[in-house]
């Protein structure tokens, strides 16, 4: 944003980005304009990062007017997701299956882990528009763990632990944690702490979801 401002000849631009809000102040000799955008839905969309980056590069080369650039950015914001829902669903399933095998599962766990991925993806994407993120993830992990226990009892999976890994892989905030530390190293202290807190909360949600099922199943065995 700062580079865009400089490319368009604005004398002073200040941008401050956090995971919950973006602040931008543009000042010229006779006026100061500040804009604040609050963010309530977060996600990672690297495709958009690439597209916006391309626009910013063209602006720097002087190839775009302000209006043209604004139109392009609007178009990026309004664009539908690059991959349809079923591609994401399939990707979730294969990533669950692959990682669950790599992290200690046996060949027999491939299909059950894939199904676990489908279930978790459906639950989380279905609930996340209606419930707070924390609860959506809690229920995703809960239903996923339920499936893991069920699959092993039905004899389609070899081990609950391996399947549970498959269930949680798509949910765990490993990258969020890494980005948090990266922000902290870069000096974005607010963004780093916010991301870290969010990652921690998501991890608590997943652990509680899985624990609810495993504790209940242990209790059921004693009955």
């Amino acid at each position: 944003m700062v580079r865009l401002g400089i490319a368009y000849g604005v004398p002073s631009v200040n941008a401050f980005c956090t995971p919950t809000g973006i602040f931008l102040t543009v000042s010229t000799e006779d006026e100061v304009v500040t804009e604040l955008v609050a963010i309530d839905r977060r996600g990672t969309d690297l495709g958009r990062v690439a597209e916006i980056n391309e626009v910013s590069r063209q602006v720097e080369r002087g190839a775009l007017s302000v209006d043209e650039a604004a139109d392009l950015l609007e178009a990026i914001a309004a664009a539908p997701p690059p991959y349809p829902f079923w591609v994401h669903l399939l990707a979730r399933g294969t990533s669950c299956a692959a990682w669950s095998l790599l992290l200690g599962g046996k060949a027999a766990d491939f299909l059950p882990a894939m199904v676990a991925g489908f279930i978790v993806h459906l639950v989380v994407s279905g609930l996340s528009t209606r419930l707070p993120n924390f609860l959506a993830i809690y229920f995703g992990a809960l239903v996923g763990a339920l499936w893991a226990v069920l699959a092993v009892n039905l004899g389609v999976g070899s081990e609950v632990a391996a399947l549970v890994v498959g269930v949680i892989i798509p949910l765990v905030p490993g990258m969020a944690m890494t980005n948090a530390v990266r922000d902290l190293i870069a000096g974005d202290l607010v963004a780093g702490v916010a991301r870290g807190a969010e990652a921690l909360l998501v991890a608590v949600a997943i652990a509680s979801g899985v624990w609810s099922v495993l504790a209940a199943s242990r209790f059921a065995v004693f009955l």
Binding site: V49, N53, L102, M175, T178, L200, S208
Partner: protein
């Protein structure tokens, strides 16, 4: 499991994870390769007696260096390659196990795992930051700049 099936699984896992991040279509295969590189680099380094943090740092550094090169050749932001590339290293499962230990009343284990998580995340980000800084030094060099552009690549503006 043989090495080949692990390789295949890793490619599959890394490719599908990068899809979930909505990476542009043409970067899916590079992302899968980088993710696989990260996974096997950290395994191999650990097997050769490098400490866990060292292995994560070196694997992330390797992947990030490759990402910087690919990003210049493919004209895309480094983030689109480096983030999916280090995903297999990211300590998500460790963080989950830490929180699980707390929930299940084993807080001693929880503290150890939580600290481990933060340290691994720090090691990975240190690798990413270092690779970025190294390349930014080279970007200022005119000789390199001219050759990258002549080869059809781009110099990313100070990306982060």
């Amino acid at each position: 499991m043989t090495g080949w099936s692990e390789l295949l699984l890793c490619l599959l896992g890394a490719a599908s994870t990068s899809l979930l991040f909505n990476v542009p279509r043409r970067t899916i295969i590079p992302c899968a390769l980088l993710g696989t590189l990260a996974f096997f680099a950290s395994l191999e380094l650990s097997a050769r007696g490098v400490s866990m943090l060292g292995a994560n740092f070196l694997a992330a550094l390797t992947v990030a260096l490759f990402s910087e090169v690919f990003a210049r050749l493919m004209r895309i932001p480094v983030t689109c390659l480096a983030v999916p590339g280090v995903i297999p290293l990211a300590p998500g499962v460790t963080l989950y196990r830490a929180m699980y230990a707390f929930v299940a009343d084993r807080s001693d284990e929880g503290y150890t795992l939580a600290v481990t998580t933060v340290l691994i995340a720090a090691a990975i980000s240190a690798g990413l930051v270092l690779a970025g800084s190294i390349f930014r030094l080279f970007d200022r060099n005119r000789w390199i700049r001219e050759r990258v552009i002549a080869a059809g690549g781009t110099i990313p503006p100070d990306s982060d």
